[in-house]
Amino acid sequence: MALSTSSNFTKPDDAFRAVVEAHRGLNDEQSADLDAALVLILANHIGDLDVLREAIDLAKRRMIDAGQQQTQQQQ
């Protein structure tokens, strides 16, 4: 596994806060634009396709889990 999922920030709250604050005052469309740019900037910084793919897999897995939960709730 090339992707690091251990906690890398000394103060993780600061990192989360920085992202949250970046979206303050933006509408959904602007937020989505910001995220798109942010993803590309960070992906380039990482510069490793294997890490990027693992990160995408991890992020997608959340979505699939969430989708399944929703389906189960509906049943």
């Binding site: 989505a32 634009d33 798109a36 740019a37 993803v39 590309l40 900037i41 380039n44």
Partner: protein, 537 residues
């Protein structure tokens, strides 16, 4: 507007009077006298094969179609004796500029280094390329070019293929050891062998217009995303010979092709782009495209090349150029098989190498197309992010995809001998040979690609001398750089591009691809690599 540039006459051939047991038999019949079929026929003829070249039309013409011919294609055409004529007529270019809205995002140079005989690209209308190739064909008695000969029947037999051909004088039959189908995207031979041709169809429509005008734009490839004159879409401007300019505009998916093609509708659009309306139309065409390839390029004794075998989007100049790469890849192999120097299985490497190249071309051109015409809101959003990042970051510029222009593929192929020595650079096996400037003994400048042509049409051993000539293997031609009698690497570029040290040798295939390389070649190692590259193991 669109006119046939050259008309050729149908001539009745004595073969048409042969029937039954007397049907004429040829080693190779090539079907389709486009750039790929013509080039293949010339290459085969120069190797000593008799070729019948059939075409169902009797003229060249109708629009520019392909316009960008790559360095690799020009080097192939040099071997066929037509490269200089193409370059003399063509518009040489290597710089591309990308604009977003009103401003330039960045520019690229496809051949930033000196010391190559040929430029990165020339732009030349396809009808000129075809006309020059036909002129060359007419110098070669081994090629029998028959216009208005349409293949209407094909029967695969054990040792040959029986073709039925329709002409203005009726049908006749021919037998061929091998048939090469270069009959284009709508290949009728492909249908005759029952092969599927499936892939991805793109919904977006593009308008191509070739216009004649006197203009001061530089000879560069200009590409716009979301230009002020064509809001929300993309546009391309490119120069061709004779004051002709290629303009390519992305249209709405739902645009009505018949209406969009009308000159009175195209004119105001282009006038906004060019800032004036002092231009005449040469050709207007509206197209959608598909990216697809045949599963197998070889069906028994029928071999497919060019658009008949694979189709890509036009962004990247990967259509005609990849077809020409097919031709150069196939001809030496077919020649060896016909001479029984190599087993028929050598042809399998044509399929392996060129179908992998087709996959690469399809992948690249699909990515370009998706970038130009995003498929969803989120794709459009990511593109927008790339375009805005490109203004201030290097990585953003490199993500902008306005067509990745054709470069020769690197083959992972059983014909290559894996490196056994340490290399810090240079072309690895499966890579096409880079050019380099050399000096002949008398001081004349000679390019490596010229030296390659001069020493023959077979395999070549490129040796970097160490003072004493090494024992030459039997068979391949030799190019020696350095030593007492070799070319001089005055500028040091050959040595640098080939990561050469005294004793270094490269074994080059007849198509100019590296088959093997050695720091200190032994006769046995070179012979083994030769055998492998010839399909003899």
């Amino acid at each position: 507007m669109a006119q046939a540039k050259t008309q050729f006459g149908y001539r009745r051939h004595p073969d048409q009077d042969h029937a039954g047991a007397n049907v004429a038999e040829y080693p190779v019949v090539v079907v389709g006298a486009g750039p790929v079929g013509l080039s293949l026929a010339i290459d085969l003829a120069q190797r000593g094969q008799g070729v019948v070249l059939l075409d169902d039309a009797d003229r060249i013409g109708e629009g520019s179609r392909a316009i960008c011919f790559s360095k690799r294609s020009l080097e192939f055409w040099d071997r066929l004796g037509v490269g200089q004529r193409m370059v003399d007529k063509g518009v040489v270019w290597s710089v591309g500029k990308i604009f977003h809205g009103n401003s330039q995002l960045y520019q690229f140079n496809l051949l930033p280094e000196q010391g190559h005989r040929r430029p990165a690209f020339i732009n030349l209308q396809q009808f000129y390329a075809e006309a020059y190739l036909v002129d060359r064909v007419e110098e070669l008695p081994a090629i029998d070019l028959r216009w208005r000969n349409k293949v209407v029947g094909l029967e695969q037999r054990n040792d040959d293929v029986a073709l039925t051909i329709a002409t203005p004088d009726g049908h006749y039959r021919l037998h061929a050891n091998f048939v090469v189908a270069c009959d284009g995207a709508r290949s009728s031979l492909r249908q005759m062998v029952g092969a599927e041709f499936v892939g991805q169809m793109f919904e977006d429509q593009f308008l191509i217009a070739d216009v004649r005008m006197a203009a001061e734009f530089p000879t560069e490839r200009w590409f716009w995303f979301d230009p002020p004159f064509h809001a929300g879409r993309s546009a391309l401007l490119h120069k061709q010979p004779d004051d002709i300019w290629r303009i390519d505009l992305q249209l709405n998916r739902y645009a009505d092709p018949a209406a969009e093609k009308l000159p009175e509708n195209v004119r105001p659009r282009l006038a906004r782009m060019l800032g004036h309306d002092k231009f005449d139309f040469e050709w207007i065409s509206l197209y959608k495209f598909q990216c697809r390839r045949m599963d197998r390029f070889i069906h028994g004794r029928v071999i497919f090349a060019g658009d008949a075998a694979h189709q890509v989007s036009p962004f990247g100049a990967r259509g005609a150029n990849s077809g020409l790469e097919d031709a150069e890849n196939l001809s030496w192999k077919l020649d060896r098989v016909l001479r029984r120097l190599s087993p028929q299985s050598l042809l399998e490497s044509y399929h392996a190498e060129r179908s992998a190249a087709a996959d690469e071309n399809i992948r690249e051109s699909t990515r370009s197309t998706d970038f130009m015409a995003p498929n969803s809101h989120q794709e459009a959003r990511l593109r927008k992010a790339v375009l805005s990042l490109a203004r201030e970051t290097e990585f953003g510029k490199r993500m902008v995809n306005a067509g990745r222009l054709s470069v020769p593929s690197v083959y992972e192929t059983p014909l290559s001998t894996a490196d056994g020595d340490a290399w810090a650079g240079g072309p690895r096996p499966g890579t096409s040979m880079p050019d380099a400037p050399l000096s002949a003994r008398l001081g004349d400048r000679v390019f490596l690609t010229e030296a390659f042509i001069r020493q023959g049409t077979g395999f070549t051993l490129l040796e970097f001398g160490n003072g004493a000539a090494t024992e030459a293997p039997k068979g391949p031609g030799v190019i020696r750089i350095g030593g007492e009698d070799g070319f001089r690497d005055t500028e040091g570029l050959a040595g640098a591009r080939y990561d050469a040290a005294p004793g270094t040798a490269y074994l080059l295939r007849p198509d100019g691809y590296v088959a093997a390389r050695f720091r200190h070649p032994t006769r046995a190692a070179v012979d083994a690599a030769l055998a492998r590259a010839s399909g003899l193991n």
